[in-house]
Amino acid sequence: MDVKKIRERIKKILLLTMLSVGAILMLFPFFWMLFVAVKAEGHGFKLDFVMAAPLFKNFAAVWNNTAFPFSRFFMNSLFVATSGAFMTALFCSMGAYAFAKKNFVFKEVIFWMLLSTLMIPGMMYMVPQFALVTQFGWINTYKGMIIPHVANIFGLFLLRQHMETIPDALISSAEIDGANEWQIFRHIIVPLSMPIITTVFLLTFLFQWTNFLWQLVVNTPDSLKLTLPVGLALFRGQYSTQWTLLMAASAFSIIPIAVLFLALQRFFIEGLTAGAVKE
């Protein structure tokens, strides 16, 4: 066997080993979470192999907890993330269509305003947005949790970029056929932009699902609208040493996103790389 082939072989094995070690290190915290979540009560903090019986006891205990009902938190998270993502995808598509295919007064001014707002760190919005939501009477409501974040500028730009590539001839021929503005949007623009709309939907879903600060700010601790991360934070305040229960509760937040991501990662990756390439 020639030396070159052997060297290639060794290089390959070395690379695979490095990649495997790296992957194990980066995913280790999540394996540990799952491991602790199925351990027996009082053993979450110990380095042993005493398992819960039945194995998913901790999950059931957290899901049906009366003071901190994680089943309710889960449904709230699902509702907030889904409706937030739907509204964002809809509003961004409509706005992007206007920017891509229409001329209107103040177009440049509005565009410039959107662009400059993109650089403001979200933390700086906490106080004024809280003040607004308080004055609107939106504390402890779904709309308070969802609406302030549905004007996603990044999503609008992403969609505009794509819609500009849709040929004008398609639109004018539909106009000749007597289609009105909404029909053009609904039956031509939306179907042709569906992959990007899906990307915006998924990225917003992810953002809303994992958003902690705003859901913490807009809800009081006795709110019925708490989402998973806020519920987990409050639960932890009460049971800071019950690691088996804490990790089971954490898994309710992590597992759905992990499954969603692995199933649809093409859309996530496309959206995230498009943002950077644009810069």
Binding site: N103, L132, E181, A233
Partner: protein, 312 residues
Amino acid sequence: MKISSRNTKNIRNNVAAYLFLFPFLAVFFTFLAYPVIYSLILSLHKVSWSTNLYNVFSDMKFVGLDNYIALLQDSHFWWSLVVTAYYAILTIPFTIFLGLILAILLNNKLPGVSLFRSAYFLPSVLDMLVVGVIWTLLYSPHFGILPNILNSVGYSNFMDNGILASPRTALPGVALAMVLRGAGFGMILFLSAIQNIPVSVYEAADIDGANAWQKLIYITIPLVKPIILFLVIMGTIASLNAFTEIYAMTQGGPYVVEFMGKIQGATRLSGYYLFEKWEAMKFGYAAAVSYVLLLITLVISLINARLMGKRD
């Protein structure tokens, strides 16, 4: 006749455009544009003893620049800026470095590459609060797995207090958790940029006798420079935004560092300090903190834009 028909079309176009834009712009102006001004107004006011607590925001007392003057003399605020800068230095270079290494390793023809790519990218989409809580367990005293691993190699310093209770290791501990979480995002960007570099460039370098290291320094890194700059900007904004990881892991502590004659929290970043002021209902002061942080962000962005302009 022709002109008037063009005019009607123009008006109709404007009306249609604004009808499509209306939902987006209504939310944008209310919750993103107006707050920039509203925040400034709030920062000139203060919740006082006479403020009606059921109607706080319309009943704050005008105090002029008092909040800003107090802020300039607030050692806790200055310290939070120091810690934020330190956090940025701990996270940004390592996230970029790790992301680039992973991308270069993944850019080889290997079995299971897409599996590895998913594995590395997955942590960056997961809930930051949960990731912080998990790492708190890994770092905890006596039973935490990391202090135990360190103990088994003869380094027993962390067995009694864990990693997050010591002022020297608390912030690096938070940073390590966040670097491992965030590196996959950089990796994806680097990977797509590297795959866009034509193979012929590397082949030409091979003919000239360049080794792997030279190819990295002279070809790959210059071609991914825009990605590096993008990640620096994103990392800077993320450091100024950092709150959730601190809330989950240290709550700003341990409070043992002395600075400007006051006891300071070793991990109290400016984002977390802002949250504490909000929590204490010091809304005017919190608004002033956010305004100063906003100005700092703008200055950093301008410097970044300058640097980018010079390089091009």
